[in-house]
Point group: C2
């Protein structure tokens, strides 16, 4: 059994290496990569390695790397080890995990023991391990009370990219009016809605732009989510202009 470490920070990388050797004495090899690209390549070469990786690397962040690794070998076990539990990350991960896959998500702020325990649980006992804080995020995100539908999230991304209503309608196969409906819905859920009853133009907000702002502040969106979305948009645009 081999373990592949994908992590850009040298300090964290060597710490991880040590932790893996300590927690998994039965493993016979630890590989290291310092970004998503190198990680994918290593994963391809050395078949059947378990992976522990950071999200937020450059070039090619953890989510992208995980997606291609899982696409090639869905049974790979991956432990995500990240600084943050942004909703954007949690959602991004749970969007790409294959059915029945074994994986984990622990925060870097977790204790030494927690990390080692997670390593054993996932790689030896085939058991998923999700940090409490992340789990909390996940439930808030999926249990739709105060959480966002896929449709809402989708349109949030579209306006964050700067698309017009018409463009969104085209892209998602909807009428313009439906797009606007979803927008209204989104505004309500983000608490950016100003019922005309509430006098005083106190706010003076452009709802569309404001929605993006609060989504960013609440970490519903972050840089890498935007990058991913921008890339998707680019391929869609290409498909449009030359079908």
């Amino acid at each position: 059994m081999k373990v592949l470490i994908i992590e850009d920070d040298p300090l964290h990388r060597s710490y991880l290496n040590e932790a893996v050797r300590a927690a998994l004495p039965e493993c016979d090899g630890v590989l290291e990569a310092e970004n998503g690209n190198a990680g994918e390549k290593l994963a391809r070469d050395c078949k059947s390695a378990h992976v522990v990786m950071d999200l937020q690397m450059s070039p090619r962040n953890g989510i992208e790397a995980a997606r291609t690794i899982w696409k090639e070998r869905p049974e790979t076990r991956i432990l995500f080890w990240s600084n943050y539990s942004d909703e954007a990350y949690v959602r991004g991960v749970s969007r790409i995990v294959p059915v029945g896959a074994v994986y984990g998500y622990v925060l870097k702020s977790a204790s030494d023991d927690r990390l080692k325990l997670a390593l054993r649980s996932i790689f030896i006992e085939s058991q998923c391990v999700i940090d409490r804080e992340v789990r909390g995020m996940q439930q808030k995100s999926l249990g739709n009370m105060n959480g966002f539908t896929e449709a809402e999230y989708e349109i949030l991304i579209d306006i964050a990219l700067g698309l017009t209503d018409r463009a969104i309608a085209q892209r998602r196969n909807l009428s313009v009016r439906s797009v606007q409906n979803r927008l209204q819905q989104l505004y309500v859920k983000l608490g950016v809605y100003q019922p005309p009853g509430g006098q005083g133009d106190d706010g003076g907000f452009n709802l569309r732009a404001r929605a993006v702002a609060v989504a960013l502040l609440r970490k519903l969106l972050n840089h890498s989510a935007l990058e991913r979305a921008e890339a998707d948009l680019a391929v869609w645009l290409a498909r449009q202009t030359s079908p």
Copy 2:
């Protein structure tokens, strides 16, 4: 001479501690804090310490902490030690450094020796040290060719916060039309402008929202810059409603 370390990651903190002791054997004390708040307090208590800190902590990031520290003792020497050279960070730092202050900005990806050299240069020889990459950023940012005026940056922030033209006009003491002029200017510089000659609604972009998107993608804006802006906006709003 004492040195204060403000850094949230334990690994990096202890690494820094070691580096400081190695590079500055003449210092007689190393203090540690794990966020901006604790850092400010320590800086207040123990007068006359040199500081080395991370940006991007929570609660209270490095820029905010540095601002209050410098407000209380402008002669404090601060070395910023960060993962990124986002324009938003560089601009944020150079906005708050007092005239004549000695400071430094080195990336975490720099070598061991570079860090130690920077420590000695700043704290012993009173010489500013800015990482090449950061310096490049700075020049691109200030040498206004392909860089942004203060006015442009300001309005970029305002639309990113979701303000309407009218609200911006009020806030910045301009007419609505002038705000729109600045917006056009911004659109051009961000490359988001669609000359009516270039037919085809190919883009289908909402310029205002698109501008924010590309600013984020280019890291002209980031989460902490937005947070800061949001806080500023809040105090301004309060001042408006109850003068």
